[in-house]
Symmetry: C2
Subunit: 267 residues, 2 copies
DNA sequence: CGTAACTTTGATTAGTATCAAAAATGGTGG
DNA sequence: CCACCATTTTTGATACTAATCAAAGTTACG
């Protein structure tokens, strides 16, 4: 039985939501066909009307938009287990592109099968919904990152996120993680130019915050990197994974300044 | 019966999703209590664990994050009918603040009542899910806006979005719409400083793209504004509302340049 | 081993931020 | 209704971050 191919998807849902045996079986039994992806392959194209839902099984993916002058903005990263085009599935039309960042594999699931699963099994519906809300939370953090942090903090923040998200699925070791992207792609994530990305990376390195080896990054002082990136992992809404046997996700002190004509909604 | 207070929420869902009479009644019958909001009042605070879900009924709201240096980034705007804290409800903890932008009203719905409604009525669940996906789509567009457009395009894009979203709910007239925010808030939306926002607005005005009167904006040449902002309303996933009796949401020609080592996923 | 892709470096420019202060606006109490 | 105060908008001068342009190294790959 080929059930096991969808295991990354189940694993992902289980990290944050409880699902009983029956629900788990139902997920693993979804019909699907496998696609092998080379770096750069498109999984979704803007404007497309999809008939199948794709789940990333292996490798990394990213989602991006092109603005009028030809510049590209990467608006999200995907890891094994992620649903790649739920939005376009439900909303009928993709408003962005999803592309493989590395070699990998994806499963294509007929839309109706997935919709039926969600409709008939509330726990699965809630689990998928939760993942969508976490995605949205990450998008919001990215808006803040691109909008309000300078190049160094922005980069540090992204590296922190990348480390934590990869560690969650076992892709990162204790103080070392893959950075499988070109500096141009990094630039498109951070809203910078590739030249400036290069300089920013070197600056972080010179500051002793990171070390680089090929497409891998390591750090000696996690709290320092966290602090440089103003990284608070709360927005990732990690489940039980974020536990004490892991490297502590310490963050610097953070107070919420009261802004403007505040006042509480409490009547 | 006080059903009618939740009508803005129902209206919002109906714009994009079909709901039968029974579903509609179920929504309108949700228990709720009303809160009056003054500009600046908080509806959700970062770190809070909510027990009720808020629906904006009147007025505008915004959601924002504070980065470590004290800078603020507004990551979303809310209009009547919007659910304000679904994410924190499902994910248990708010990772951002939601504040009233103007005077308004919100309804507080007990979490359990809403969750039960969603679980027991698949059509409502799907409708709410769709709204969440649209929200996410808007977040992604904002990432691109802040990351890859210069100040003028960024502002023009935001103004276009504001017009379209307000017109959708009847808050904007044919070529004129309220801009009920200070230039500092505008700056926090766009990742700029308030000084530069001022200059950018004046530049758009000087270019004949907009006119301003108090906190209202009008435009003589919508296509020109759309073009300046590289605005493509697709990401708003408007439903039937986007029809021909409305001002055409024309957009400039847009081709999707093929990037990098492309190639299709088609086997 | 040769070539294309990617990274690195340098020099210069452009776009925005910063700092400071004046002008305009809106609300409030007398 | 007016005077006053707080907030917001506007303007000017200057500084700085990141973009641009160009080219030399380096790495990965067929």
């Amino acid at each position: 039985m080929q059930q096991s191919v969808l295991r990354p998807m189940l694993m992902k849902l289980l990290r944050r939501s409880a699902l009983d045996e029956e629900d788990q079986q139902a997920i693993l039994s979804l019909p699907s066909s496998i696609k092998t992806l080379d770096a750069g392959n498109y999984i979704v194209r803007e404007g497309e009307v999809p008939t199948r839902c794709f789940v990333l099984l292996e490798g990394l993916g990213y989602r991006h938009k092109i603005v009028i002058n030809g510049a590209r903005q990467i608006v999200g990263l995907h890891f094994p287990g992620d649903l790649l085009n739920l939005q376009s599935s439900v909303l009928q039309v993709a408003d962005e592109n999803v592309q493989a960042l590395t070699w990998g594999k994806a499963a294509a699931i007929p839309m109706e099968a997935l919709v039926e699963l969600i409709d008939t099994r509330p726990a699965i519906g809630r689990a998928v919904f939760s993942e969508t809300l976490v995605d949205a939370s990450i998008f919001r953090e990215w808006i803040a990152n691109v909008g309000r942090r300078d190049a160094q903090a922005r980069m540090a923040h992204f590296l922190c996120e990348l480390f934590v998200r990869q560690r969650e699925i076992g892709l990162a070791r204790d103080d070392r993680f893959p950075l499988p992207m070109t500096q141009e792609q990094l630039a498109d994530v951070l809203g910078l130019t590739s030249v400036h990305v290069n300089r920013t990376l070197k600056a972080l390195e010179a500051a002793g915050l990171i070390e680089r080896d090929k497409r891998e990054v390591s750090f000696a002082d996690w709290p320092a990197l966290v602090s440089a990136g103003d990284f608070n992992p709360a927005y990732l809404h990690l489940g039980a994974a974020e536990k004490d046997d892991q490297k502590p996700l310490t963050q610097v002190e953070r107070t919420a300044p009261s802004l403007g004509a505040a006042g509480n909604h409490g009547g």
